[in-house]
Symmetry: D2
Subunit: 396 residues, 4 copies
């Protein structure tokens, strides 16, 4: 009998997928991967066996997620279309890797995910799986059975499946250590503002006291190692930053984004840790990266974010880009002071032992060491091409 | 006798420049250009004659500034290094144009500006003047006389020049309709946060009441024509937006930036109108620009911002880029709802008659018109190159 | 009965498509579009009626092809992956436009093309048709019937279809005014060099006499208007250039290219006119385009080539890019001298009334008008960021 | 007494520089660096002592030049403005490094070069020296003494300096293992074609017999290791390729280029080895680099070429880019067959054990393993954004 490893979240779709896959003649190994989502993954995984899985296991991938996914994302200031910190896009490749590991271990010949046909996650899973294990069959039961959400619910009710429906959320949510995405329901109308019940990681700014606070963030070679004056492992730094920023109502994103499959969708995110750390990290880079390196890195940042968003994590381009960024981060060491206001977050000070800022050059006082005479020649040559252009135009 | 047209701000440097230029054998025509800065330009200009100008005039360039400079900047979501809305960079080319106009009218053979040798404005003036009037001599007395700020003050005191020193600001400030830059003094240390006295357009977020407000902004083909439900001319829309956002403490920027002359400098700005309008405009573009056009425009936005920052306003590249952006803005019509919190500003809703968002495609309900079967084929071909790559790698 | 407009080439696939579409219940209107391919299009179209078309017509689209497709391609120096001058990619959108025109005129509700499922042309047709006429049904019989080339031949033989098989070419060929592509057969092995019989527009360089020739090409605002000292319409200039360069064995391209559908394919082209004109045009741009405009145009050239290759001709991005390029071409007026050797083509001289080259600046003689003193200041400031970087690194 | 290390070429300018520097109070250490230029460097260096140098030495830097400069340039297919293989731009940083090494060893406090104020080499020397040794004084006697070429000759004659003027070349030439640049004289007029006497590495194509030849080039991880069926060290592969291509008249470039100092100049180069190897290398990449990696690498290639051209070799950006390219070259292993015609060079076949080309996918025969059904879904989703755009436009 064929064995399939299913990426199991405990939610409606992947729960229904277990009996459905079994009905197609598969033995199902259900794997729940802990990337920092809330809820009792152990209980969920236990339920998978009740639903008919021959085996079910939970894998704690949090430390690996930080190391292999979140730190590179931070080094790249990774934001898709300038705004979305790639929350789910970062976890899917890691989950794909775990699926492949379990398939190898259990002798499965197939892997399965619970994504629909219009989202991005199917792309991330399938392209990732194709790169990691081109020999494995990939099943997408939710896409292939063609049931709408309503029909899936009916399928579960008819069969009396033990689905967790305690909290009947109007939203479809994905969460991990880097943030949380909220979709569906009323949010499908882009002219309707998100309701307060959509958010869990960020307090409503209206509920935050007016007094701003200041938080210092420390980076060593691009890696966050301190928040608010305390030393932290990177994973704890992310958690600490998320708590502080979320408590100030900072980190919400409400955007229209272009999905890989060609449609525009309205997406709501909250990612207080990711967005505050990126703000601090980018600010420290402005102090410590040489001008041309900084400019090229800024041009490459959306390239990296795009490829991760579009499911090309396991591609030679990502490896090559990550070699570039690794070099760039050697000097990104120092402290940034963030000022948090209700719903806002701004760097207001920064320092570094390897700062490229030079007071003696920048000052307008008597201490000035900049040779102003150099500037005249510089400006004349800098403007030479347009001056020549203008002369030729005028001559016409 | 040679005649020079001086860009006159009424401040210390350009005031001292008048007697200094006269001492070099020039007749000085002082021109104050109103681009929305505060203060009594008429009084300042009158003082210029006392200082020795043979002629002094004020030119109201505000409407022209909006039309030729600020609307293109908004269409481009123009931010240097992702943060600075180009406040002074936008006004300098227009002032250069006014200087040339006055030089032609008065028969002057030279123009002069009061910039130092380490800032960006000398570049913008001189490259602009070289493009507009390659025949005119360009003088930069402040750069050339080599006096520090302290020495300039001493020069004025010795000669008893009628300089306005009523409010002895610790900062060097430039302001126009698009925002305000604040430099020098304590701000030269990037680890020292700006003091409250640095800001005039934005209230301290700590002083703002906690209750967020929502403001609708309307654009017609990329041009702001309504704020808060009221119709406005673009100039008034900018002013209205600035007042609302400034009252919420939004619009401050504190950054390290790479100057044209190769040094890093710490810069503090406040630009509530510019930053709120850019947030709204970019959000509306996400709803109304086709994916590939939007992606290429995002790549070109820093190109435009860079060239404006670096003084190449009067270059054929800007003309060509502006032809690109003009086409793109034809469909940027609609409304965006901004939510302002103390120090924060976020789009939370948007709509347009030409929205490319399509509910029937985006929904997860039974109304879904997206063919999920298409996705499987799409994903397989999208992942084909990396799958092939992985196969070849594994074979090795 | 449903009516379909078929893009009819007279070749095997589209000939077989006529009876096949009829068997599916369609009335077939066959349209042959003349974009400069060889052969008797009238005779081919007449044969379509014998094959069962209810109507057949030939449309001469050559002048329109030059104006709307080839001149923009030349302005962009359009080369996919730096080598392929987009021959077929340029004709497909125009043919799609003709199909839609005929469908509107004849009341057809469908259009059909003869492309397979692994080539690029299906993408160009279908994306183009979707943009031009989203209401029309699009049929791809050759892709959908799933017959291999061998099976298609068998289908025709069994039914005794009057297919032109006089010259049993081992290749699959597409040709128009801009060049010719040659695929299939022995060329599918990338380690096998093309045989002489693959080429028709270019003489084998081994057959060309050794003596190089020189040809002057004239452009007015980016449009070729003279070749070899004679004035020409653009269409004739293209033809004249093609003859001269082809006779010297210049214009062959042998490459591996990335298709839209994700596979690498080996492609052989000959495009003597396109490649010689692009060489001349790009050279003239180096003389007449201002530095920054030229640099940005070079960055955008592959963007334009990519979107055309990938079927996005009827996209708002192309319109916006074409507005950019139109501005850039205003000054691309002048003459370029090409030197043709067997299989080679090099610009060896160029001149323009609006040349930005300035002898007085460029000379190393006594006539030098360049201020060498400016350079020292320029170089110091240009190198300031790396010098500062090095100082900080050394300090560590 | 202050000691200066002079980059000594044996030519007019650096010969005159020795007594001139001495007259300014310096002890001159003359260093000739062998990067593959022709001529007797030992004799030239000996002459330096006659001219007044306190010490003179020749340094053979050829192996180091290949390893640190030419192989990266080939990996990047490095061409400035798409045409110039960076010949001199590559040698200057290495020479700067040698100067610094000698200065450290001899206790010199200054280094000197013989560049003028309008070329690029001053930038490469001075920015490089500033990065390597910010403490050393940098002298540019030729730029600073302000003598024209005529005046320099006069200076030498008046003082009876033992300058090598045996062959009174009308050109200013720079040569190394990667190629040769030819400037000045009649070449300053861009409408005058170069005369045969300008070239030494390439035979006039008119003198080459008509019969094309084919040459196989082998690369291992991007490094050339075989030419014409024989194994070679990289340095010998470069030499062998240069001989073969030069004998076929291939490798000449005649172009207008934008110099760093803002002027356009007419430049003539011959670089048979560089251009033939780049053609072969780029072709092999098209077979072995994954699509997205290849696309991004092509975008970065001009970035690398620009920074090398502009003197930023010793910058952190180059290090980061070189980390990117190193990853990319891991799979660039295989053979390319070049066909040389008089003045022309084309890849006509290529193979690799790690080729990403897949016959089973690419073929149009019965062996086809591509699922044509996938294409329909792919094309529909690929065209979805423009189709949606068109629908909204039509609705208006």
């Amino acid at each position: 009998m064929r064995k399939v490893v299913l990426a199991y979240s405990g939610g409606l779709d992947t729960s229904v997928a277990i009996p459905w896959l079994a009905s197609q003649g598969y033995e199902v190994v259900a794997v729940g991967v802990d990337v920092g989502q809330p809820g009792d993954l152990g209980a969920a995984v236990a339920r998978a066996e009740t639903l008919g899985a021959v085996e079910a296991r939970a894998v704690d991938a949090r430390a690996r997620f930080v190391e292999t996914s979140l730190l590179p994302a931070l080094a790249w200031n990774g934001l898709y279309q300038g705004r979305y910190p790639l929350v789910s896009a970062l976890s899917r490749p890691l989950i794909a890797q775990v699926l492949v590991d379990v398939a190898r271990e259990t002798g499965a010949t197939a892997v399965a995910h619970g994504c629909t046909g219009k989202g991005n996650d199917q792309v991330r899973f399938e392209v990732g799986l194709g790169a990691l294990a081109p020999d494995l069959e990939v099943l997408a039961p939710v896409r292939d059975w063609g049931m709408s959400r309503e029909q899936t619910v009916a399928y579960a009710r008819e069969r009396d499946l033990p689905i967790a429906t305690t909290k009947d959320s109007p939203y479809s949510v994905d969460e991990n250590l880097w943030g949380r995405s909220i979709e569906c329901g009323a949010l499908e109308d882009p002219w309707v503002s998100p309701q307060p019940d959509a958010f869990e990681l960020t307090v409503d700014p209206a509920e935050v006291g007016a007094e701003p606070i200041e938080v210092d963030v420390r980076f060593e070679q691009g890696v966050p190692t301190g928040v608010g004056g305390e030393d932290h492992s990177p994973q704890n730094a992310i958690a600490a930053m998320g708590k502080i920023a979320g408590a100030y109502g900072f980190g919400r994103v409400d955007m229209i984004e272009d999905r890989v499959v060609g449609i525009k969708s309205r997406e709501v995110y909250e990612a207080p840790a990711a967005l505050a750390l990126i703000a601090a990290h980018a600010d420290l880079e402005s102090l410590t990266l040489e001008r041309e390196l900084a400019a090229e890195k800024r041009r490459l940042e959306p390239v990296w974010a795009d490829l991760v968003y579009k499911g090309l994590w396991f591609s030679p381009l990502r490896e090559a880009l990550d070699a570039f960024v690794a070099l760039s981060q050697r000097s990104v060491t120092g402290d940034v002071r963030l000022r948090l206001t209700p719903g806002g977050c701004q760097p207001i000070a920064r320092r570094s032992d390897v700062a490229l800022y030079d007071d003696a050059l920048a000052t307008y006082t008597d201490q000035d060491s900049f040779d102003h005479g150099d500037a005249a020649g510089f400006v004349r040559l800098w403007g030479l091409p347009t001056r020549r252009w203008a002369k030729v135009q005028n001559r016409k």
